[in-house]
Symmetry: C2
Subunit: 265 residues, 2 copies
């Protein structure tokens, strides 16, 4: 399966697909963080989604090159080398796509690492959201670990989720560069990979825990976080992607909605 | 609390402590990955371990600078900026300490990202090891989630741990640059951050699950992985550190030994 990205925004268009994303078919999952970066930048990319073919390449060093990979997503770079692990992929492509932040006075590396730090914290929230429905064993069905999932989800809703949102609210409030710019940028005063990743995590959590997220939004304690989500959804490249048929629905992946795991508190 | 690292190896010695590690007192934890990198490189560093002082700095942007941090470890860089998230810290300092790998034909960035990828996978094993004793709620005692911990540990011992070890064995077997060099280097033919992190994860897992690790070693299926552990333990800088009083004992951190969670299978 191969698909070309729409040429929006036109100014950023490149003709040749130099990147190939290897990921599971039919769900946003962790591949979505990589997709959003390319969509934002207007860089076309191919995908290989057929599981036997995809895994056959990324897990076999005689086909996909060294090193073999633990799990998708994996990204083939213009050099032909394949890189995996979501945060490693995002940190690698961030400066190439203009998503590593800009700050005067350093060589860019420290700002890039700060963006990476915030990406990693947002992905920790993604991982904890996954673990609400699989707290015991990723190889077993949700239904076979439902009691533990109910307990873990309760702790997630009451403590972990508000802690993460509160943290990002504090980052947004204290960003000295975003004060005169709406206050919805995690680093500097322009969109970085951290903004895109936090947007996607919030969107996924909103799918999985709609009641809890509605209550948290209503509390007014995380206004900048929810404003960031709105702002990113309207960004050039992202807006067109979200409205397109390419944006996949959430399913049986990381972000799952089970009514019994959600709650107002 | 501040301490200076022994000047071994002498050739790499620097006089001034330009880095400060902020981490919990009394346990190796995730701070240990950062310590091992500096110990290997012979770069002196300070530590701030007093919890109120440490958290007061890294969580308050008026004291520690922007952005505030979610959790330790955090590292103050020579610029004065503080960086957190273990993988972000390690990826940032890897090229500065000579731990980002070397490969001809690229600008170093792709090899550095491959090292980062393998660090992240080793740290995933670290996280899954932690979750064996805290599968439900990090804010509760182990004893209050012991039933779930027993179940999760069973899946960890039988499926997850062998999967990770098998993966790293495959990486070591297929590394074209290490074939004539003992086969115990994850990337290239010299020590990288990935080797140091995998060493520490293996050492921690060995503390937490000694019976299971002994059985896995005895199986002979992961000989290169266990050889890497031995090789890193004998590296200049690491050897002296492990024998010194600075190396802390495992306690109530990530890597905990509960006899009931361990087993031969």
């Amino acid at each position: 399966m191969s698909k070309e990205v729409a040429p929006e925004p036109a100014a950023k268009k490149q003709k040749k697909e130099e990147y190939t994303l290897y990921y599971w078919p039919g769900l946003p999952g962790r591949g979505e963080y990589v997709r959003l970066a390319f969509e934002w930048a207007g860089i076309p990319y191919k995908e290989v989604n057929d599981p036997p073919k995809m895994l056959g390449i990324i897990k076999d060093p005689t086909k996909g090159g060294f090193p073999p990979h633990f799990a998708p997503p994996a990204l083939q770079l213009p050099s032909g080398n394949i890189l995996s692990q979501t945060p490693a992929i995002l940190n690698h492509i961030a400066p190439k796509l203009g998503l590593a932040g800009k700050k005067e006075g350093d060589d860019g590396e420290e700002t890039r690492s700060t963006v990476n730090q915030l990406v990693l914290t947002a992905l920790d929230l993604c991982n904890e959201t996954h673990d609400t429905h699989h707290p015991i064993d990723v190889a077993q069905y949700y239904e076979d670990q439902k009691e533990a999932a109910l307990e873990r989800s309760k702790a997630y809703r009451s403590a972990r989720l508000p802690k993460f949102l509160g943290y990002f609210e504090k980052v947004l409030e204290s960003n000295p560069d975003a004060k005169n710019n709406g206050g919805t940028y995690l680093v500097g005063s322009s969109t970085t990979m951290a903004d895109l990743v936090l947007f996607q995590v919030l969107d996924g959590v909103n799918h999985a825990f709609p009641r809890r997220m509605a209550a948290l939004q209503k509390s007014g304690e995380y206004d900048k976080v929810f404003a960031l989500k709105e702002r990113v959804a309207g960004e050039s490249g992202i807006k067109e992607y979200l409205a397109s048929g390419r944006r996949q629905k959430y399913g049986m992946g990381i972000f799952r909605h089970y009514e019994e795991l959600d709650g107002d508190e």
